[in-house]
Every structure is written in structure tokens, then in C-alpha cells.
Symmetry: C2
Subunit: 530 residues, 2 copies
């Protein structure tokens, strides 16, 4: 396979590590001399000096365990190394991290066999996270491409990556991704189980599935999507739907249940599954196999019946000390978004919600990163802890590198917009830093502070490519003759001058007017009510 992955810092940024725990940040030195930082998910690949060796993999972090899982440690009052690390990353108290994990309101997906990953936390009290899906399929792509997609996705801010490979070489692809990933990796084990039985859903057995799960846990997968809530009795509820069952995992298990007239083996063996996951501290991502695939099907009986069962399973998992999050829709019109969060939080004891979009409309294939960023921003504001991205290729094909980036950026926008709306500490400071740069015509700083510095600068250069335009006190929107921001500056400067000259208060209004006109029509700021 090719060993080529993208390396080096983003334009205007440099990688740095903070404190004793060496938590990673993207550091931006502004032209004002101020240094600001951003949460960083990109691993060592964005260091200036890093030479990746994909064969060897990333450096490994040591792990010590006094308790099998983060959940059990937190309940025992322990602040683990991982908790301390994520607290430092998020600038929040370690005790808050511990308490949220202990209550099951947050998870730290960190398989003991994935020491390459930098710990991170998923919970509504923390920064909203973004997952990027990658993976080979039966009709296209290779392991080499997928490793680069993982590096690429984390470069733009993906907090976790799911390897959804379905074709041959599932194990090999996953191994390459895990050993080289700085972020937690999730999978859907039923895909590999299905490959193992020759693609026939009815040939699946608990034993095959369990073996696949053990293999993936051994390999280091951090969280597993498990469709244990697709109970046989719910499947008929999907018959009247517009788009049936759209989850691959959900439909595999529905087919199995109905062919055998038996309850979903993931449901009946759930306690055994908990024991396996606890051994490695792997986190459950309880899959919504009956999620709606169209706005027509949103919040219907099938979806909500499964959600209630996911709540029941959450309680079982927690009894076993296994960290758990809950997957959510899908396709949901805006007026039904809040209800999704309310019911999930109520029925699943506030376990972290991890939603796919949702798409707020079905009418725009080719633009579903946008239709879903709308829903994602709203649902995250209401309390979703992690958003699964959707790329422009959704419903149409497999995402390439550009699509991965488009999806990640759209979702970083949605996640950050939610952080701002929630009043998350430090979130709006990022907007303010960029707005300050904008108001002060610091173009280079605007680019560096942007979620995507490359695109911001490229768009600016299209119209005004010359270097002087980077320091010009105007832009191509108004042109050099007239600039609203420049007028605001004059206005502010005059207000400040006025304050300094408070003794002038007795001067007549007409005199002042003449004075300012004479001074080139700069502006004066009396509060005059007329």
C-alpha cells in the first residue's frame, strides 16, 4: 500500500503540546503578537518535523488501570490519567469529567489496546464532537486510501473516525487505521460478521458475532455500534414507512429475526456482550437500526420503540460498568428535532447522544452535508454530544478526500455553532477573535483563525491576489473607495478622541459640525435625541 499521508501544520498554525500531560493544541500566532489556541485532533501529523512510519504506527501512550473501565473508575471516585488528559484538553476541572463519566452522561472511548489514541470525551457538558465515517466498500476504495482519509479527516477536526469497511480486507484496513490513528476508532462489527458468513444475514450466529467483537476489541477498536435494540416485534412497525429500514445493521438484524422467528441475538446475548466490552473498556454505541430514512418517517413508532429499548440496554450496560452512548437519526424535520433529544435524554438516563445529521429535508441529494448541518447544529444545541458527519456524496456514492473535508468542515461549523449557542466556556472567544481580525483588516489573521485557512485565503486571492491586499483596509466587496468597516473605525477613533477631550463639552454644536467637516468629514458622536 502507499504510505503517503498529509503532514505538516495548517497555514498560520503550529502544533504544540501543553503542560505535563502534553495535551495537543493548534497554536495560532496573530500579527498582533497574541497567541491563541484551538482544540486539536490531528495527532503528530501536523507537527513540522514529523515523519510518519505507517508500518510502525504512532507512538503509544502508557496505560494504567485500577478499574476495568473509565465508568467503574469514575464511580470509585478515581480521576484516571485519561480523565485528567481530557480535562486539560477541554480546560475543565478533572472532577467534572469524573462526575459526568460516573453518571453515564459522558464517555471516554479508549480501548486499552489502542494506546496510539489521544483520549477525548463525549458528553453534553463538553465540546460537541464530530465523527467522520470512512471505509472500503464492496465496489470501491483501498486500505491505503482509507488511512489517508483518516489522517485527512482528523486534520480538519474529526474527533473520532468510524471504519465502516464492508468489502474484503476488513481486518487489514482496520489494523492500518488503528495503528495510525490519533483519535478513537469506531466500527460496526455486524459488517465483518456478515462477511464471515458469506454475506447471508440468516447464517449469522451469536458465536460468529462474538468472535468478531473479540477480534476487534483485541485489535483496539474504541467503540462499537451494536444494533441490539432492533427487536423482532418492532420490525413490522417499519412496514408502513416511506423508506423502510435504512440502517445496514438494522436491516441485517431484521432479516435475521424474521427468517428465524427469533429475537435479535444481540438483545438476548447483551449481558455477555457487556462482559466482552468491559474487558477492554470498549464503549457501546447503541445503534439506531430503525432510524428514519426520510422526514416522513421521523419520530415514528418504530424509531421510538427502539429508542425505549436502547434506554433499557443502557441500564444493563451501566450495571456491567460499560460506557454507553446512543445513536440517533437520520432524517428529521426541524420541528421534530427537539423531541428527539428530549426523549433520548429521558429514556436513556442522559447517556450521550450521537446523531447522524439529522437531515432537515430530503430534497437535495448532492448537498446533504448542508441539509444535515442544519439539523446537526440544532440537535447539538439541544444537547447532542457527538455528530456523525454526512458528506456531499451521501445517498449517491462513496466520499473521496474532498468530500471528507467538506463533511468535516460542515460539521465543525454545526458543532461550534452549537457550542456558541450553549454558551460553552471559550467557544465564542473563537468567533470574537476572528471578528476582531475582520474589523481590524488583519487578513492574514482571518485566514489563520478560519476553520479552513486554505479555502479562506484562496477565495480572497481570487479577487485580490496581490500581496498588498493582505494589509489593505478594504476588500473586494466595497472596493477601496468606500468601506463600511473603515467608517466604523473613524467613528470609534473620534469617540475616543471625544472622551479625551471632555472639556470641550461647552463648544457649540454648529462649531463642532464645521470642525469635523473641515477635518475630512470624520465623525463625531454626540447623543442627540431629536
Amino acid at each position: 500500500m502507499s504510505r503517503a499521508v498529509t503532514v505538516g501544520p495548517l497555514p498560520g498554525s503550529r502544533k504544540a503540546y501543553r503542560g505535563d500531560l502534553r495535551t495537543p493544541v493548534r497554536e495560532i500566532e496573530l500579527t498582533t503578537g497574541q497567541v491563541v489556541e484551538r482544540y486539536d485532533t490531528s495527532g503528530p501529523y501536523t507537527q513540522t518535523d514529523y515523519v510518519p512510519d505507517l508500518q510502525k504506527g504512532l507512538p503509544r501512550r502508557g496505560r494504567t488501570r485500577n478499574h476495568p473501565t473509565q465508568l467503574l473508575a469514575a464511580r470509585a471516585g478515581e480521576v484516571t490519567a485519561e480523565m485528567a488528559y481530557v480535562a486539560a484538553r477541554e480546560h475543565l476541572p478533572a472532577e467534572l469529567v469524573r462526575d459526568e463519566v460516573a453518571a453515564g452522561r459522558a464517555v471516554i472511548p479508549a480501548n486499552v489496546n489502542h494506546p496510539e489514541a489521544e483520549p477525548m470525551i463525549i458528553g453534553k457538558r463538553f465540546l460537541v464532537k464530530v465523527n467522520a465515517n470512512i471505509g472500503t466498500s464492496a465496489v470501491t476504495s483501498s486500505p491505503a486510501e482509507e488511512v489517508e482519509k483518516m489522517v485527512w479527516a482528523t486534520r480538519w477536526g474529526a474527533d473520532t473516525v468510524m471504519d465502516l469497511s464492508t468489502g474484503p480486507r476488513i481486518h487489514e484496513t482496520r489494523e492500518w487505521i488503528l495503528r495510525n490513528s490519533p483519535v478513537p476508532i469506531g466500527t460496526v462489527p455486524i459488517y465483518q460478521a456478515l462477511e464471515r458468513v458469506g454475506g447471508d444475514p440468516t447464517a449469522l450466529t451469536w458465536d460468529v458475532y462474538r468472535d468478531v467483537v473479540i477480534e476487534q476489541c483485541e485489535q483496539g477498536v474504541d467503540y462499537l455500534t451494536v444494533h441490539a435494540g432492533v427487536r423482532m416485534e418492532y420490525v413490522p412497525l417499519t412496514v408502513g414507512r416511506k423508506t423502510g429500514i435504512v440502517s445496514r445493521g438494522g436491516s441485517i438484524l431484521a432479516a435475521w429475526c424474521l427468517a428465524h422467528h427469533r429475537e435479535n441475538f444481540l438483545y438476548t446475548h447483551f449481558a455477555e456482550l457487556c462482559e466482552v466490552l468491559r474487558t477492554y473498556d470498549v464503549t457501546f454505541s447503541l445503534g439506531d437500526g430503525l432510524r428514519p430514512g426520510s422526514v416522513y418517517d421521523a419520530n415514528d413508532d418504530a424509531q421510538l420503540a427502539e429508542l425505549r429499548t436502547l434506554g433499557e440496554l443502557t441500564r444493563v450496560a451501566k450495571q456491567h460498568g460499560v460506557q454507553t452512548m446512543i445513536e440517533g437519526p437520520g432524517h428529521v424535520p426541524m420541528d421534530k428535532i427537539a423531541e428527539n433529544v428530549r426523549l433520548q435524554q429521558e429514556w436513556c438516563d442522559e447517556a450521550p447522544f450521537y446523531t447522524l445529521g439529522p437531515l432537515a429535508t430530503d430534497v437535495a441529494p448532492g448537498y446533504d452535508h448542508i441539509t444535515s448541518a442544519i439539523g446537526a447544529a440544532m440537535i447539538a444545541w439541544h444537547g447532542t454530544a457527538m455528530l456523525c458527519y454526512v458528506t456531499p456524496k451521501e445517498h449517491l456514492g462513496l466520499p473521496d478526500r474532498d468530500d471528507v473535508k467538506a463533511g468535516v468542515i460542515a460539521y465543525k461549523i454545526a458543532a461550534h455553532a452549537a457550542d456558541v449557542a450553549k454558551g460553552h466556556p471559550g467557544a465564542q472567544a473563537q468567533d470574537d477573535q476572528l471578528s476582531d481580525a475582520r474589523f481590524e483588516f488583519r487578513w492574514a489573521d482571518q485566514f489563520a483563525l478560519a476553520l479552513d485557512p486554505e479555502t479562506a485565503q484562496a477565495f480572497h486571492d481570487e479577487t485580490l491576489p496581490a500581496a498588498p491586499a493582505k494589509t489593505a483596509h478594504f476588500c473586494s466587496m466595497c472596493g477601496p473607495k468606500f468601506c463600511s468597516m473603515r467608517i466604523s473605525h473613524d467613528l470609534r477613533a473620534n469617540a475616543e478622541a471625544r472622551t479625551a477631550e471632555a472639556g470641550m463639552a461647552e463648544a457649540g454644536m454648529a462649531a463642532k459640525s464645521a470642525e469635523f467637516r473641515a477635518g475630512g468629514a470624520q465623525i463625531y458622536l454626540p447623543v442627540v435625541n431629536q
Copy 2:
């Protein structure tokens, strides 16, 4: 100038005209034989046979007037030709149109001197509309490019177009756009007034401005952005802002007020302005010159003080029989969006709200069509009647043709998502038609029903270019071996078979299981609670 504009129907669509009023629709004939239609803004350019003559302009519609304005006609109980036309276009009763216009809750921007335009309505009881801004600037672009941008924007669904030209040839550019535009055209007359006084804001006078307004009304402009709410006393409220005054019109008038120590001449001469607009039935778009330019400044005193004044001016305009809508922000975090609509509706007597975005975050220059589509969808759901698009080039440069399309499509998504969330009659049917096509693997229909058929098909073809893939019962996501939608089909087929064979109820469960396994593991749908 070049005469080249884009002509011909969208893929899978054809232009049609309905009924005696010949209201335009985009007609889509599905592979099922069903014919569906979409609201259409593209004018004759999307006819198969249309040969544009930009010199001659579009065909003109006759106008008869019993009252000076639509508002005065509606108040007198008259259903004008324009009201009947928009009612037919929107499949709503003409009396509803009349009543909403009479109450000032909707406007029909239709200058008597713009007979080329197809009447449309802006109000919260109707489809959410989208405006696209175009226009030459001091540093780039030509009239020829702007005409094509207008045709291009309406091709993708722009309901109105604003010509924001600021450089030389303002009059000429506008003339070309007006004579060839099938949609209402809006302008900001202060830009031309400023050109006329050599670019010096302090040299502006009411006389110069009035003459420009009369010229534009004579030419056929349908609505005018007027920043009459930028009162002198509000300007100091912007001094403590993060980004000052970001509206060009707002800053021009602020500069004028402060240089002269006099109240905004648009405010003091507002009644005279009403008389001019009434003569031509031109609609006010009361500009928010003090809109926030950053989430930091959202909903601040300056913005809200101006909004209260816009309410006062709305009442003056209505007394003069002039149709009026209100412009809104700008940059607003999600948690402050609903309040914008609530206050605007309350203070401005439910006059239609026309918002720019708003951007839900400032951190993503290069992607502000997305940051703002999030805010736009939400604010439209809460009651905004028209959305002013934002392109990917916002804050960075002037939009080219691709940017115009990206902006229009992002905003059609936002507008439609809001129509769906509002439960607007017929809106979700569009989603349902596409979802049906998706579930039934009718790929050609999915493309034709998409907001952008070209992109949808191109993305599909990237992965599966061969013609047979267009009828294949799978896609590149899962590949041919396993398809969740196909399983859902099998499931539904079996459910239907079961209903037909109700007499089989006595058959034993085990027997059925064997039967279905033997039948290739197709699926059976008992409601079994175990």
C-alpha cells in the same frame, strides 16, 4: 456586452404554464408516469424553444390599476391580477393573498414599470422566498456577467434578485437586468446616490437621493432598501461593538448624520419618499443599517433601537399605502434567533421579515453559505418570509457563477426545510416524492426531483458511471451484495403476502420459519412479543 445567458430546461424537467393565468411550473415526468411540478422562478429561459433577445428584453405583461398599490387595492377588497397570479402559483386562495396583503403581512413587489416580471408574494403564510444578490463593484465584474448571474440565480430558484452594483455603469447594468428579469429586482439607492456625489457620504442630500429613487422607480425596480432607521442617536450605540457598522448603507448614513449633526435625511423625509414609492407601487425594504456583523454584536441595543424605528416607519409607510418589508440580521447565534423574529413581528406589526442569513458563527470564512444556511433555516421556520442568500465568498470576495449557484442552492434548502417544519401545504410532498424514488431505486427520478439534478447525477456517476447502475437495486454505499433498502422491500412484500393469506394464521411458527428459510430467507412479519 456578451449576449450569452444559460437557456434550456433542467435535466429531467420541462417548463410548463398552468391555467388561464399561465403561471409557470417546472414539470417533472417520473419513470412511473406520474407528473409532478415545482414552483418555478426561471422565466422563459428554461423553455426548450426560447431564444433570448437581451436587447429587446422579456415579453411584457399587461397591468391594470384601480388603485395605486397592491396594498390599497387589497384594503379596498380587490383581488388584483397580480394577487390572482400569485395565488395560482402558490396553490392558495386569492382571498388569502388579498387579506395578507391588506394586513401588511405580505407584499407583492411589482413596480408598474417592470412588466417583464412574473408576480410573486413575500409573506409568512406563503412559501419562504430566497433573494440572490448580484452586482458590479468598483474592483471587478461587468454588466454582461451580471445579467447572466441573474438568469443563473433564477434558474436555481432565486425568487428575487438584488442589484447591488457600486461601480460605474450602475444605470446601464440595472437596465439590462430589469429588462431581462422574470423576478422582482431590488436595489439600494444610496449606492447610486453616493456615486453621484463623487463617493463622499457627507455630500449626500435629500434632493440627490430623491432623484436617484425616482430614476430607479421609473426604470422598474420593484423594491428598495432604505436605511431610514439609522437615526443619529443610535450611531453611538455602535461604538462598543466588536464589528461596528457593517452595512454599507448604514455606515454611509451614519457618516452623514455625524458630519452634519443632523438627523438621517431618509428619516426626516420619509413621508415624501412614501409618496414617490406609492406612485410606482414600489415596495419598501426597510434596511437594517445597524445589523450585527458578528455574533458578539447580535441583538444589541443598536440593532434593537433601529428595529423599533423600522416599526414606526412601517406604520408611516402603510398610512401612505406603500407595501413594506423589514430587513434583518446578519450574524446571530442560534440561541438568539427566535427573539429576532418575535421582536420584529411585534414591533413591525407582522410586516414580512427579510433576513440576511443569519450566520450562526463567525469562524468559517469560505463556508458562510453553510454557517448562514443554518441560521436561515431556523429563522425562516420561526417566521421569516424571505431569506437573502450568502455565498461561499462572503467576507472574502465577489461571488462568481459557481458561488451564486452554491448560495442559491444552500438557501433553497434552508427555505424548503422551513416550509416543511412549518407544515406548509404541499412542502413535504416534495420530500416524499424523492424518498419514494429513493426507496424504489428510481435513480433517474431521484436526480430529476433533486434541487440540483446535475450535481446529484454527477456524484452518482463518479462511483457507478455505467448506465445499468441507474436502474440497479443497489448503490455504491453498500454495494450489490447487501442492500438495506432491498431487505426492506422484501419485508414489505412479505407483509403484503401475509395479509392476503390471513387464513394461514393457524400455521405453526416453526413451520413458517422453515418455509421462509427455504424461500431464500425472505422475511415474515409476525407481531411476536417475547
